[in-house]
Amino acid sequence: MNDLRRYFPIFFVIGTVAIIFALAGFFVAKGTQAHDIAVIGFIAFGSIVVLFAAAVLYQIGTGSIPLTGIITEPEDIRGENGAPKASLARFQFLIFTFVVAGIFLMLSIEAGQMVDIPNNVLVLIGLSGTGYLAGKVVSNNGIDAQSPETDAKKKANIQAEIKRKKQELADLQQESDALTPAEDPSPEVGE
């Protein structure tokens, strides 16, 4: 069962490719024209892209690809209680990406072809990206600067992290106690 699970991705890819080739062979055997082959190729490549997209979405849905840090600063920048802090620049970048990508797709479907992207839309995304980069440069310089205030903050962050880890450990211990019944690990002598 474990072997089956381990080799499932390989079987899945081989199976998908085999299906695509079988379909292509079937249509070629039927005497399909070059234009039709192009359409079939388009469908095949489209299917591959959709499979990739579906795989990523599935992994996100099951939690294998965590989204917890999608709008947070890197690990070295901590918030007040030691947990990673949310980044406004990342959040803005995410919103603009969704808006522009969504509208581009929607209008392309409506027009039946790829729509042009005006320069001002590119400026909008560039502005967001530049703000993010500028903020990042300022933040990183601030981290490198050694000052008593920075050291105090670092100490506070480390203590908060220790507290958080302790809490996590206590929660895990509780979960473990709830899952496994208490057993005596060492049998008594003479039994």
Partner: protein, 106 residues
């Protein structure tokens, strides 16, 4: 399109449930108080995103084709870009001032 919608749904539900950390969005590192320039930038971001979405939604087919030319996404007015530029600049300048001249903006 569906992929993007599902992805957006994951992100929104993650933020609502707390799985995606959104704490500290309006405050600088090590502070629980919101900074005014961050609030301005957040409002400007939502405003610009909503404005552009509504403009695109209400676009007629003729406007999309732009007098027989190849179809194009609606343009962003320069005023909107300036608004966002102002908000973004205040955010970055605020960040710099708080970082290096913390005493002035405390």
């Amino acid at each position: 399109m569906a992929w993007l919608a599902v992805m957006a749904l994951f992100v929104i539900s993650g933020v609502l449930k707390g799985a995606i950390r959104s704490k500290g969005l309006l405050g600088r590192t090590g502070s629980s108080r919101p900074d005014p320039e961050r609030v301005v930038l957040l409002f400007a971001t939502f405003g610009v995103a909503l404005h552009y979405t509504i403009t695109s939604m209400t676009l007629t087919n003729d406007q999309l084709r732009m007098d027989g030319k190849s179809p194009s996404m609606p343009d962003v007015p320069v005023e909107i870009l300036l608004l966002l530029f102002g908000a973004q600049s205040s955010f970055v300048v605020g960040k710099i001032l708080r970082r290096y001249l913390g005493g002035i903006l405390k």
